[in-house]
Symmetry: C2
Subunit: 412 residues, 2 copies
């Protein structure tokens, strides 16, 4: 029988009524003839409660014990979902990560899935099981201990199962009804996309559109898993949600598919850095070692052998970045005149695979921002994306202006 993976996030299984609602969607797919693998998250709020306990006991907790505690949340949901399906007459059973088994690395708290042998589930499907409810977000290490994949890891679990079991599609049920051209709270003209390419979704996900975890999209792209994002609170039709798929499956690509943004950015500038080979490595090495997520990097033209180096990072990492850079000066790795931090900036990006074949998109973006009086502080570009750093107060204005400029309210 064809197979389908269906993943339900925390808000979609927040209580017994919602679990029942989700189970009804599963039953509908079983009746359509699918064998289904359901991936469940912990009931909304549970993971936070468990994580809170662990942190209260020990700020420097043992990640192995963290995993044992936190993985229990998905275990509960998996059993409750299996029971709910059984009550509806569907042959279902629960599987914990270690039972499947979902083999992961030993990197507790941020483990990566290495292999999902299909024998156990295949056998049960052959024996008549119609639904395997799998606890998401978790696996088992080579040492036989429970691992977790990090926040949002259930999306990754879902895609990995879709790949391992050759599923026709991987449906991610969440509390939004799809991927939008931008955040509807910022632009009322935002429109749901019917299809979006993996590459675009990847840029949108990493830019702060919190619909799908970045790793799950990467995995889907690598294994060509067709991902559908849809709401668990609406009736499902063929037009529901947004399909994240291969570029080739999208008839007519938009030049720009969406406007993404991130509010919590900071801009840091090192003034009068000695401009010599290896200076970039000397600066960004210590920052990487300190776990700072450096995003955009700009190096100004050199003058008198000195240059200014600007980079952006999440605003809550500014203090740690400052400490790391100070230590690097103390050990003589780098030297600079002054370190300036602007914690009042935001990043706005346009994303679209059509940019590859259309020239002038960046220039059109800059003109639109200029026409609205938005000053651009930093620019970076990639093949399918242009990002700018702007004063945070211009964020909404910039997003709306770009949404209009690229006609994102009209179907492409």
């Amino acid at each position: 029988m064809p197979r389908l993976v269906m993943k339900f996030g925390g808000t979609s299984v927040a209580d017994l009524a919602r679990i029942k609602n989700a189970a009804e969607k599963v039953r509908a797919e079983v009746e359509r003839g699918y064998d289904v693998i359901v991936i469940v998250s912990a009931m909304s709020g549970k993971t936070n409660e468990l994580v809170g306990w662990v942190r209260e006991i020990s700020p420097l907790y043992d990640a192995r014990e963290y995993d044992a505690v936190v993985a229990s949340g998905e275990q509960v949901t998996s059993g409750l979902m299996a029971l709910t399906l059984q009550e509806m007459g569907v042959d279902a059973r629960s599987w914990q990560g270690w039972q499947v088994p979902v083999k992961t690395t030993s990197a507790h708290g941020i483990a990566r899935i290495e292999e999902i042998p299909s024998d156990n589930l295949d056998q049960k499907f052959d024996e008549g099981m119609r639904v395997a409810v799998v606890a998401g977000f978790q696996g088992i290490s080579p040492e036989g201990r429970i691992t977790t994949l990090g926040r949002g890891g259930s999306d990754t679990t879902a895609v990995a199962f879709a790949a391992a079991f050759d599923a026709e599609r991987c449906d991610i049920y969440t509390d939004v009804d799809g991927v939008y051209t931008t955040d509807p709270r910022v632009s009322p003209k935002a429109r749901k996309l019917n299809r979006i390419a993996y590459e675009e979704m990847l840029e949108l996900a990493s830019l702060g559109a919190k619909v799908l975890q970045t790793r799950s999209v990467e995995l889907a792209m690598r294994y060509k898993v067709r991902l559908r994002v849809l709401s668990s609170f609406e009736d499902v039709t063929d037009a529901s949600g947004t399909l994240v798929c291969d570029e080739e499956d999208i008839m007519e690509s938009n030049v720009v598919s969406g406007v993404a943004f991130s509010r919590d950015e900071a801009k840091m500038t090192l003034l009068a850095v000695e401009d010599r080979p290896g200076v970039a490595a000397a600066i960004f090495g210590p920052l990487a070692a300190a776990g700072i997520n450096v995003d955009m990097i700009i190096q100004n033209i050199s003058e008198d052998g000195l240059t200014d180096m600007t980079f952006s990072c999440p605003v809550d990492e500014v203090e740690r970045a400052r400490v790391a850079l100070k230590q690097a000066t103390e050990t003589g790795q780098i030297a600079y005149k002054e370190l300036k931090a602007d914690t009042d900036v935001a990043k706005v990006s346009i994303v679209g695979i059509g940019m590859r074949s259309h020239a002038g998109v960046a220039s059109q973006m800059f003109s639109a921002l200029r026409d609205h009086g938005v000053n651009i502080q930093v620019i970076t570009t990639s093949e399918i994306k242009v990002s700018v750093l702007v004063d945070r107060k211009y964020l909404e204005l910039a997003v709306q202006a770009l949404h209009d400029t690229f006609d994102l309210d009209k179907a492409g």
Copy 2:
């Protein structure tokens, strides 16, 4: 190093402060030189919450899924306890039932422990681990699924580990400071026993003294595990709690060690039953099949080929017993004139291994009850116990009278 098993019940690990309190008792034993196996229950209230969800979904739930859901409670405590011990500088780690592994039967919800291979824990102890925190109440079936041992199963887990790892003692920490001659709420003169024999504890446990699960005492007796029951809310000294041990370890046995009672009893009488060989089997077969816990059984003298049959059972099983008996008459298995049920009775028992060598104990009991005007409805006796069924309103009076008669307020 010598080994100790310490078990903490739900109220002893109800929140992080109590888990810390329990962890301090564990650390003290580690400092005394023990390698410790800690068995934990779910945080108080958690199991009820989980069971409530399962029952709400399905009254006739799949016991395998019930087990997957419910076992998560102990998993959480095991991780939190391990983290708390680590924070105190103690080398500890958590173990789930399937990791040890605790091999059980496949009787989900009421599984029995079949084997606990010691290799995994032994290896870690050899490598320097000082405390293994094991999730109580659970194991793994031959099919690789999570099983639970039934309510109170953490006591059984603790004793099974003490036997498998040859522990010097098994300390059961709970919310009472030991085993009493009777319930202090009924008799203010109740006194804590320093030692009690397995056989006595077994009779007390099955008679409703809810300190230890019956199965755990049976297991302790079979493997000669020295069990100590003590409070987790008091400082521990050598005189703490009550030691449940072999008869031979008790210098001077009391004739009577305690007065046990059970409030929720019912007495059922079948009038004018045909007195023929096999009639008892014809009556109690269907009751056993219906899961009725028949306790005392009395058959009156036969007259004209007819007899009356009386038995007691828990009061909340009366209706089911009535249905089972009615069905048995409809199929012609049995015939009787009338079925009477008295749901207003209580059982009072005296227990003591000294009875074996002392005659006249039962007679002394009956005299004391008569002197206080308590009418006895049914009597049963065993080697170390005499039980009577009385009108429920006499329960407190009977317990206090017997406590006085056998001088239980004085150390034996």
